[in-house]
């Protein structure tokens, strides 16, 4: 193989003095700073910048419309179109949950209820959001399609008990889902 000797480039006097290049560099830095200050940085629009630089300032501006369809946020329970609790407390999600975040207390549906033939519903359904790892196993395993991972990601609380989502909160996040499992009703 031929040996190629790479010569160092010969510098002119101006380049050796070096200060011209530094001055030029400072002008470039200043121009960049000015563009950043007036919000004209490259990519500021695409990244939904809040005015300075390309940073989007979070609580004021959000990226929600860019969330993908499959985004896995807070798990939540859903009701069907007739406002029936979908969950039949089979506890499959509780058993599969890797960090053991779900805790279900099953309860019987009284015989005088409209949905007595479903037999069971959760009396209590707690998801500890400090433990939850948003893996989506519960959604995957649910035979009744009662639990879904919603795109909510702002889950905050000032103490541990606030971070446990109870049944009421879970239905509030989940809301209603139409036309999935119709084996318990006449819609078909």
């Amino acid at each position: 193989m031929a040996i190629i000797k790479v010569e160092r480039p010969k510098l002119s006097v101006g380049e050796k003095v070096y200060f011209g290049a530094i001055f030029k560099g400072m002008i470039i830095t200043l121009r960049h700073a000015f563009r950043s200050l007036v919000g004209k940085s490259t990519g500021a629009n695409e990244l939904n910048s809040s005015g300075v630089g390309i940073t989007m300032q979070y609580p004021e501006k959000k990226w929600d419309d860019q969330l993908p369809e499959y985004y896995r946020g807070a798990p939540a329970l859903v009701t069907d179109e007739l406002d029936r609790e979908r969950c039949v407390s089979c506890q499959l999600c509780e058993f599969i949950c890797p960090p053991k975040a779900i805790k279900i207390t099953p309860g019987e549906i009284p015989s005088n209820n409209e949905w007595a033939k479903v037999e069971k519903r959760p009396e209590k359904f707690d998801i500890d959001m400090i433990r939850c790892i948003y893996c989506g196993m519960c959604e995957e395993v649910c035979p009744e399609q009662a639990i879904y991972l919603r795109p909510d990601y702002v889950i905050t609380g000032t103490n541990r008990s606030e971070m446990v989502h109870d049944k009421e909160r879970l239905y509030e996040i989940g809301g209603k889902r139409v036309g999935l499992v119709n084996k318990w009703n006449d819609l078909k």
Binding site: F19, I22, G25, M26, I28, T29, L30, H32, A33, S36, L37, S41, A44, S50, V52, G53, I54, T55, Q57
Partner: protein, 422 residues
């Protein structure tokens, strides 16, 4: 020693140290915001006044864009654990941060912050100590801070701080020489070392770097050109420009600022000489560095950019000695210092860090020689009216000879020994 003097001195010490310390915190917030803007970020912009820890319902959010951030930073430093590792040399480990901060704060004693204020019938200079050896005092005291850094590196008893300390020591000693030599032309021009008089001279005859006016008037008027020695003054801009560049760069090296921050370069030395320090002791190093930066900027502004003078002949129109004029001048001075600090930050994000041998080459081979030749050049220009044309010719020839010799020596010093040499 009368009471007015004592009271005035006490007030000046309190106010000017207060100004320097608040400038240190302003430096920090400027550094963070300006760096952020250069890097397309936002920086700390939403620090509030935390009334909620005092029991109020809500925090007070003022529309000041995070200006209270330094308070939060300071509180954080105070409340962090002050950890002294078991293997350090305790006495020196505790002494080192103090030795960094104290010299930095002492040096601002001779800087004139504003024009003298008339109080009753005494004239109070707006410098804590109106010494006749201003710059020498600053150099003498500022060099002491190298003890703090070297002691910190040695007392930490761990390899990276030690390297940092050694580097800091070598670097500061190297650049001290260029620093001292580079302002000799300036001092030759002013013919004195009193910083207050230097500024007053610049009020009358134009800033050292911007001689756009003199006692005869502006540069566009004929009065300006009628003044004696005006051509000599303009010629003197060459050595003074060189002085300014060398002095500013050496100040960067002295304060361990960005292109020369080898004592604490985190990619090589973890944190440098303050690796083992935490909490308030680290904060003292931090403060010392920024205080040195503030004093360095103040010195450059005082020597080259007219100190507290507004310039362009405006100072002459204002009544001398009135209290509001003094305050206005203090404001002007602080504004200039702020601009210079922004310049420091700009350089930080423009010039990459030097390699260590490049740093030493620049200090010993380029700046030392350049400053020496510069002194001769300035001397020649200043002496030219009295030595006549023949004297100038002989001096010029001598200067060119010395320059060529020095360049030869410098080139020889940078040549690497070839691999085949015995």
């Amino acid at each position: 020693m009368d009471t007015t003097f004592l009271i005035a001195a006490a007030i000046k010490i309190a106010v000017f140290i207060g100004i320097t310390m608040s400038f240190v915190s302003i430096c920090v917030i400027f550094e963070r915001r300006f760096s952020a803007i250069i890097q397309d970020r936002v920086g700390p912009n939403r620090t509030m006044i935390p009334l909620s820890i005092l029991g109020f319902k809500k925090d007070l959010a003022l529309p000041i864009g995070g200006l209270t951030q330094p308070i939060a930073d300071g509180l954080k430093f105070i409340f962090k654990e002050d950890f002294t590792p078991s293997y350090v040399r305790k006495v020196f480990f505790w002494l080192a941060p103090v030795l960094v901060v104290v010299p930095a704060l002492l040096t601002m004693a001779v800087i004139p912050f504003g024009s003298p204020m008339e109080f009753g019938n005494t004239i109070i200079p707006m410098a804590i100590a109106d010494l006749n050896v201003g710059p020498l005092f600053i150099f003498a005291i500022a060099s002491l801070s190298v003890y703090g850094i070297t002691l910190a590196g040695w007392a930490s008893n761990s390899k990276y701080p030690f390297f940092g300390g050694v580097r800091a020591c070598a670097q500061m000693i190297s650049y001290e020489i260029a620093l001292g030599l580079s302002i000799i032309p300036v001092l030759m021009y002013f013919g004195g070392l009193n910083l207050g008089h230097i500024v007053e001279d610049q009020v009358a005859n134009g800033w050292l770097l911007l001689p756009l006016w003199n006692e005869g008037g502006f540069i566009i008027g004929s009065g300006y050109w009628g003044e004696p020695l005006v051509v000599q003054r303009l010629l003197l801009l060459i050595p003074i420009g060189v002085s300014f560049v060398i002095f500013t760069t050496s100040i960067f090296a002295e304060t361990n600022r960005m292109p020369f921050d080898l004592p604490e370069c985190e990619t090589e030395l973890v944190g440098g000489y303050h690796t083992e320090y935490s909490s308030m002791k680290f904060a003292l190093f931090f403060m010392g560095e920024y205080a040195a930066m503030v004093v360095g900027s103040a010195l450059i502004v005082t020597l080259f950019l007219g100190g507290w003078s507004i310039g362009f002949g405006i100072d002459g129109m204002l009544p001398t000695g009135a209290w509001w004029v003094s305050l206005l001048h203090i404001g002007v001075f602080l504004a200039k210092v702020t601009v210079f600090i922004l310049f420091f930050i700009l350089v930080r994000w423009t010039v990459p860090r030097f390699r260590y041998d490049q740093l030493m080459n620049l200090g010993w081979i380029v700046f030392f020689e350049a400053a020496l030749i510069n002194v001769f050049l300035a001397a020649l220009i200043i002496a030219s009216p009295s030595i006549g044309l023949g004297g100038v010719a002989i001096g010029g020839a001598f200067l060119i000879l010395v320059t060529i010799l020095l360049i030869k020596v410098a080139k020889g010093a940078t040549q690497k020994p070839s691999a085949t040499a015995v």
